[in-house]
Amino acid sequence: MRKLIALLAFTTAYLSAPGAALAQDSKVLRIVPHSNLAILDPIWTTAYMSRNHGYMIYDTLFGTDENSQVKPQMVDTWTVSPDKKVWNFKLRSGLAFHDGKPVTGEDVVASLNRWGKRDAMGVALMGFVDKLEATGADAFRMTLKEPCGFVLEALGKPSSNVPFIMQKRIAETDAFKQIEEHIGSGPYVFVREEFKPGDKAVYVRNAKYVPRKEAPSGSTGGKQVFVERVEWNLALRDAQAQVNALAKGEIDILEQPSFPLIPGLKANPDVVVYSYSPVPLQYMARFNHLHKPFDNPKVRQAALAAFAQEPFLQAQVGVKELYRTCDSMFTCGTPYASSFGTEIQSKSNMKKAQELLKASGYDGTPVVLMKPTDLAAIDKLPDVAAQLMRQAGFKVDLQAMDWQTLVGRRAKKDAPDKGGWNMFLTAWQGPDIWNPIANATMDTRGEASGWFGWGKDDKILELRNLFMRETDDGKRKKLAEAIQARAFEVATHAPLGEFDAPLAARKSVTGHFRGTGNFYWNVKKN
């Protein structure tokens, strides 16, 4: 019996001893990101995981701090000519790529040219650019055809697609083909040999990185690295398993815990849950402007009037302190947010929605509403939308499908009964919709171009063009208000409220700061 007890004790001790690879190494930061990392080219796709990968290994010319102010990052100094058409930039000294080569003006030019073919703001900016040239080893010049009010805003944009600076030879890759090499000048070096899609991505500290002197804030400031290695666990995607792993200390940071599991995490004394982003995310209902019934702006207005935000937020988020209503189409709490023109939704009620629908001449055409069943982050929104629309008098055909089917289907311009659609719901990170250029719904060029739903409105386009050209902040604000008022008038889409997606971390992890993305510099592990 004593032998048996001894054997059991030995086995218990042996089993509970941590494995060598799991040794609690304070130099290794183990993170479960919000999704899988598949595409390693942050210019080729707008996927947030690719953007976050970009922030690990690349640096940017400018960044946006937690107060939404653009600040220099790789750029040291810059000047603007009195006619605001010639911009000269000088890079900081000591900037070098991971292979040791210095960052040059030519690298910047090639990187911006590639980004300018893919990103909405980049495309808009390049429309103004007459000439982009290197003017020295560490300098470049941007000459504009006419003054433009968003040069720094575009260069410092914090979300997809971020104008990351790559080596010239890599940045010269066709913008519609993915890059093959991943050499940046950012705070971490990507370990290509250890990258296993669906398993893990590994980054090591870039020992040669020279951080700025300023404190980190948003995507700006000193990118100090205090860990030797960051491991993204791409295999751990079960929500409960993620929480279990964090509770046991097998991971250090969980980027996006599931909302229902947050109260349990908050009760854990070893875990801290907090909102890292100064700007929230926003839910949105998008109408297809090409087909009945939403080709009629009055019908869209009726839907807008029916969509009180609170029911959506309650159903989807549920945790009161994590959500709030926001009338603005531009992220609340950011410079262009306002309540101009929002009355149709903010002062809406079901009676008004019913009246508007009746007055619109709606003929009972069913609304094909796509519901993703496998995306927990938004899967409850369509049910609420369907219920509210039915109450308003719409006929709704709620079609369940997986998210990727929805993604494929929403790109189709066919009629809803031929494989197309009428409406879907989604969520945006704040920086992606916080001004009229970045906000894809404000690109109202119609079927010829623009974002899914293909809204067409010449007045918005005209105001948007004025906004792009305006260099005075006050006037830009007025133009943004006018754009929003018009967007509500023609009901381009329906904002459905805002929410925070907090991260959860072990208390041993410190040094987080507020920013508009998942940034892993300045983080310490004790």
Partner: protein, 313 residues
């Protein structure tokens, strides 16, 4: 015998061809657009169209199939749309975790279930037999993820004995490798223990009623020998068949276990590929699974020769 093996191997060719055509067509007819998925949320329709062209998805299906079939015959399963890696390399990366999980699971299941089944047959109608039958009903009924969460809560979180999740490659050392596989294997093996134990019990029970068992006992052989040498040996064919089918099902059926325990195996690869409409990867993985099934069936058939001398090919 050699002729039989050769014939069976040759027979895999039309099977794989039919699978290839069916999978190819089904994927092309299924809803979803890989280009739209790859482009991301904020992409415009023009950008998606450019990506579709780059992937060759704008070509006629016949042309796409011709290119893919040609590459496949040359041993190239293509490149993943999603990961930009060779499908063969992706499968290679994911094979070890799935094989390890399947091997440990089936080993554990066989080591536990066969003795249980034999004892249950030997003590037919007794409390042990009834308890085993009750357990097997429970084993069949309890969902894998429920069992996984219960085991994780008790063994990992409360007792702190084993890791909650993850996989360590065998190259990183046997102990970390083994330690990470204990809970997933135990979780996954329960249903197989239930299945194999029932089949073993039924087969051995049938064998124990045969004349040669009575003769063996009459000769005065020890009961253990009677059970193993005469009972179990003669009941082996159905047991081995079930084990073989179990292995085949395991290879492709480990998705839930791999998800809950964060094991980067072939099951997860398949699910991710399906969700991303990563056609080359789905096609490659399904072809690989088909080949494994055919091979396992062949091995099971060959094992009959050794288990039952009356069987000849």
């Amino acid at each position: 015998m050699l002729n039989f093996v050769l014939r069976r191997l040759l027979a895999t060719i039309p099977v794989l061809l039919i699978v290839a055509v069916l999978v190819f067509l089904m994927l092309r007819l299924a809803p979803g657009d890989p280009a739209a998925i790859l482009a991301g949320d904020a992409a415009s329709t023009e950008q998606i169209a450019r990506i579709r062209t780059n992937l060759g998805l704008d070509r006629p299906i016949v042309v796409q199939f011709g290119i893919w079939a040609g590459n496949m015959l040359a041993g190239d399963l293509g490149e993943s749309f999603y990961y930009k890696m060779k499908v063969v390399k992706l499968i290679g990366q994911r094979l070890e975790p799935t094989l390890a999980l399947a091997t440990f699971t089936i080993l554990f299941a066989v080591l536990v279930s066969v003795p249980l089944g034999v004892v249950a047959a030997w003590r037919f109608g007794g409390w042990f037999d009834r308890a085993l039958m009750g357990f097997s009903v429970l084993g069949f009924s309890i969902p894998v993820f429920v069992l996984a969460y219960i085991l994780i809560y008790l063994v990992s979180l409360k007792l702190g004995l084993l890791p909650v999740q993850g996989y360590q490659r065998i190259g990183d050392g046997f102990w970390p490798f083994f330690r990470h596989l204990i809970l997933p294997s135990v979780t996954l093996s329960v249903i197989y223990i239930a299945l194999i134990a029932r089949v073993t019990r039924a087969s051995v029970l049938e064998a124990l009623g045969e004349d040669y068992i009575r003769t063996a006992r009459a000769k005065g052989l020890p009961e253990f020998r009677v059970l193993v040498r005469h009972g179990l040996a003669n009941a082996a064919v159905p047991i081995v068949t079930v084990i073989g089918i179990g292995i085949a099902l395991l290879i492709g059926g480990v998705v839930v276990t791999e998800s809950v325990y964060a094991i980067p195996g072939l099951g997860r690869l398949t699910v991710d590929a399906v969700l991303a409409r990563d056609f080359p990867t789905i096609q490659g993985v399904i072809l690989f699974f088909s080949f494994v099934y055919v091979l396992l069936n062949l091995l099971i058939d060959l094992s009959y020769v050794f288990l039952d001398p009356r069987i000849r090919y």
